[in-house]
Amino acid sequence: MDQILLFAVLGLGQGALIAGIALGVVVTYRGSGIINLATGAVAMASAYIFWALTSGFFGFTLPTVAALIGALVAALAIGVLIEVAVFRPLRTVSPLAKLAASLGILLTLQATVLLVFGTQPQQAPSVLPGETVTVLGITTPADRFLLTGLVIAIALALGALYRWSRFGLATRAASENEQAALLAGLSPNGISLANTLLAALVAGLLGVLAAPIVQVDSITLPLQVVPALAAALFAGFTSLWIACTAGILIGVLQSIVYFLSTQSWFPTDNGNAMPGLQQLLVFVLMVVALYVRGAGLPRRGEAVEQRLPAVPLPERLLRPALLAAVVAAAALVVLPFDFRQALTNSMIGMVIVLSYVVITGYVGQISVMQLAISGTAGFALSHVAIQLRVPFPFDALGATLLATLLGVAAGISALRVRGVSLAVVTLAAALAMEQALFGNTSFGGTAGVSVPPPRLFGVNLGPGADFRGLDGNEPSPMFGFLVLAVTVVLGLYVAHLRRTGLGRRMLAVRSNERAAAAAGVDVRAVKIAAFAISSFIASVAGTLYGYNFGSVSAARFTALAALGLIGFAYIGGITMVSGAVIAGLMSTEALLPHALDKWFGIKGTWALLFGGVSLIVTLIANPDGIAGAGHRRRAAKRAARAAARVSEPDGPHPEGEHHAPAALDTTEVAS
C-alpha cells in the first residue's frame, strides 16, 4: 500500500507536466479555436534550450535562473512565431485544417530540435530543490509537490483572468463568435496572440521544470500532448480547472499502472511486463471522456465560411492510369537498384495515402489509426505465413482481412465521434497500438518479424526474384511490378469511387450528416463502408511493406510516422488520387527524399523539416494540395478554351462563368 502511495506521489511530477500541457491546449483552443498538437513540442523546445543554456552547448553557461528566463523567452518567441506564421493566416479555415497545421508545427519543431541539438537524449538540471519530504510515512522528492502546487496555482490564476478581466471577457466572446467580436471592435488577432503566448509560457515553464523527471528528447515531451489531450477532452476544451485536475490524475494513474506492472502477478510478455499499458490507459480515458462529455467540441462562430478541400469529379481515368503504369514499369527495369527500391517504397506510400483519400478526403474524418492498421496487417502476415504456413496470396489476403476487420471494428465503435475528436482519439489509439501491440514481442517487436517472399506457382515475386533489372541488383523489378499492379488497381478504384452513388453519399456525409440522414442516406452504413474500404487499402499496404523488406518492424508504424504521412497527404492533395501519388513520392525513403539524399546529401531530418514547413505553407496558400491546384489550373484552361470557342455569349447572364461545365472535366491519376 505504501508503495502504491509512493508511486502515486511520484506520478504527480508527470501529472503536473500533463496538466500544464493540457492547460496550454485549452488556452490555445479558447484563444484561436486550434487544437494545438504542438503544445508538447513547445515544452520540448524550451526544455532543450534550458539544457543548452546550462550545459554550455552554445559556448557559454548561464546560472539556472537566467537559463530559465532564457528558456521562457524562447517559448514566447516560438509562441509569437506560431501565432504570426500559422494561426493568424489560418484563422478562417476548418477545424481539421487547423489541426493539420498544428501537426505541421509539431513536425517542424521536432526537426529543428533534431538538427540543432542532435538525436542524443539529454538530462537537464533541476530548477526545483532536490530535497525530500516525508508524508504519511513515505519519503518522496519535494519537487513533485512543488510542481503540482505550481500547476494548480497557474490554473487558478488563469481561471480568475478569464472570469473577471476585460481580456478574459473578450477571449470568451471571441471564442464564441469571432465575427461579432470583430464588429465589437475587439481584435481577434490580439486575443489569439495573447492566449497563444500564455499557452506557450505555461507549456514552456512546465517543460523546463518537469524535464529532469522525464527525459529531454525529441519524442517523449511532444507526445505528452496525447495524455494532455485526454485531460482537455474531459474539460470539454473549456474548463481550466477540470483540465488541470484530470491532467494530474492521469499522471498519477500512469505511475500506479507502472508500479502494478512490476508486480509478480502482472501478465508478462517473454519475461518482461506487458508493454504499452500507460498508453492504453490514456486511450481508454479518452474514450471515457468522449462518453461522458459527448463527442462534440464547443463551436465557434467563425468569421468566414469554411470550405473543405474540393473533391473534383474525375472524368478520364484509364488513359492517365495506363500512361503512369507504363512509365513506372519502365522505370522499374531501367533505374539503378537504389532508385528502384525508392520507387517501390513510393508506391507503397501511395497505397497507404489512398486509404486517407477515402476516409479523410471523401468522408472528412481524420483517423490517425490507419497506419497502425497497416502495421497490424504486416505483423499478421508474418504470423499467418510462417506459423500457419499459409501460401501466397492467401497469407496476404488473410492478414488483410484480419486487419480490415480490426479497422471496421474501430470504425463502428467510433461512429459517434467525428471531426477533430476522432483525430485526437485515433491518435491515442495509434500510440496505444504502437506500444501495446507492436511493442509486444509475442505479436510484433522492434526487432522485427520476418516475412517470407511471395511465390505464385513457383515463381518468386518478391524483391529477391531472379530477374534483377538492368543493373542486376536486388530488389528485383518483379516485386515492383506486383506493387505497381496493386497500386494502379487501388488508385483506379478510389478515383472511380468518387463517381459512384457510394462516393456521392460519402461526400454528402462529409458536408452535412443531418441533411444526409434526412435525404435517406444511412450515415452509419456509409461511414462503416468508408472505414472498411480505407482499412482494406491500408492493410494491403501493410502486407506490401512486409514483403518489401522481408520483415516487419514496429518502427515503421509509429503514431508519429502516421502524423507525418497525413502531413504528406495534405501537401499532395488529400481529396484526390493524384494527390496520393504526389504524397507517396514524398513519403519516407521514397523517390524524392532518396534523390535529395543521393544528389544533394540532404538527410531525412531535413526532409522532416521540409515536410512540416510545406504542410503549413500548403494549408495557408493552397488547401487543395498540389494535385488540387493542378486540377484547378487545367479546369481554368479548359474553361477559357471553351469560352473562346463560343463566339457569341448567350445574353448577359450574371453568373455565366459558373455555369460553364467546369465541374465535368478532370484527369485524375496523373503522375
Binding site: R166, R172, A173, E176, L183, G185, L186, S187
Partner: protein, 237 residues
C-alpha cells in the same frame, strides 16, 4: 450641408472575385435613417459587409465622417464608431446580458444606461445568458449593445430575419427614435419594405447588384411600382 456620416462611392464587392454589387453610390447623413431595399440576393448584405470591412471591396471608396476608410480593418472601423448588427444578430450566447454591455474594446466604456433605456426589457434579463433569450430579446440585445457603443453610424442587417413582423414593428421605431435623439446615421437593410419605409427618411433600391432607384422614403412608399421594378430587375423608369 454638413459632411455626411457615410459616403459610399463606386463600391464594387463580392466573393471569390465575382462581384455581387457593382458601382454602388449612397449617402447617409447624421440623424438620417436610410433603408436599403431589394430582392434577395441583390447584394444588400454584401454592401453592409463592405462598409464594415467584413468584406474587402474590389473597387470604390467608403468615407466615414469625411475620412476615407480605405484598408482600415473591421475592428478599427468598429472603434471609429461604426456599429454593425449582422444578420444572425452577432451576440455571444455564453455571455450574460450584463457582460455584453460590459464588453468593450480597450479603453471603451459602453453606455449601459442607453441600452436599458431604449430596451427596458433587457434590464430584467441582466444575468441571463444570451443563448437563453428569445429571438426578439436577442435582437434587442444586439441592438442595445450597438447603441451602447455610442456609434456615429449604425448598420442594421435584416432585423426581421426569423422574427415575426410584430416584433419588427416594435424594433424599427426604436431605430427612428435613436437616430433622432443621438444624431446617429442609420443604414437599414430590411425585407419588409412597408415597415422599413415607415421609419426611413430615404430609400435605395438595389437590383442585381446595382442601385436602380433612390428617393425620399415617402415618395418610394407612394410609388410602389418603382420598387417592384427594382425587385424584378427591370430598368428603372
Amino acid at each position: 450641408m454638413s459632411t455626411p456620416v457615410l459616403e459610399v462611392s463606386g463600391l464594387t464587392a463580392g466573393y471569390d472575385g465575382a462581384p455581387v454589387v457593382r458601382d454602388v453610390d449612397l449617402t447617409v447623413a447624421a440623424g438620417q435613417v436610410v433603408a436599403l431595399l431589394g430582392a434577395n440576393g441583390a447584394g444588400k448584405t454584401t454592401t453592409l459587409k463592405a462598409i464594415s470591412a467584413l468584406l474587402r471591396p474590389m473597387a470604390g471608396t467608403v468615407t466615414f465622417a469625411g475620412t476615407p476608410l480605405d484598408r482600415i480593418p473591421a475592428a478599427t472601423r468598429a472603434r471609429l464608431g461604426i456599429a454593425h448588427v449582422p444578420e444572425g444578430r452577432g451576440i455571444f450566447s455564453g455571455l450574460t446580458v450584463a457582460e455584453h454591455l460590459r464588453l468593450g474594446h480597450r479603453g471603451e466604456r459602453l453606455d449601459e444606461a442607453a441600452a436599458y433605456r431604449y430596451f427596458p426589457v433587457l434590464s430584467r434579463l441582466k444575468d441571463r445568458r444570451a443563448g437563453l433569450l428569445s429571438g426578439g430579446e436577442q435582437q434587442m440585445l444586439a441592438m442595445g449593445r450597438a447603441l451602447a457603443r455610442r456609434p456615429k453610424l449604425l448598420l442594421l442587417d435584416e432585423l426581421s430575419l426569423g422574427l415575426a413582423p410584430i416584433i419588427v414593428e416594435e424594433l424599427l421605431p426604436v431605430v427612428r427614435r435613436y437616430a433622432d435623439d443621438s444624431g446617429c446615421g442609420v443604414l437599414l437593410v430590411e425585407q419588409h419594405v412597408g415597415l422599413a419605409l415607415e421609419v426611413a427618411d430615404h430609400g435605395y433600391v438595389l437590383s442585381h447588384g446595382e442601385i436602380t432607384t433612390h428617393a425620399a422614403a415617402r415618395e418610394l412608399d407612394a410609388d410602389q411600382a418603382r420598387i417592384v421594378a427594382g425587385y424584378l430587375g427591370e430598368h428603372p423608369v
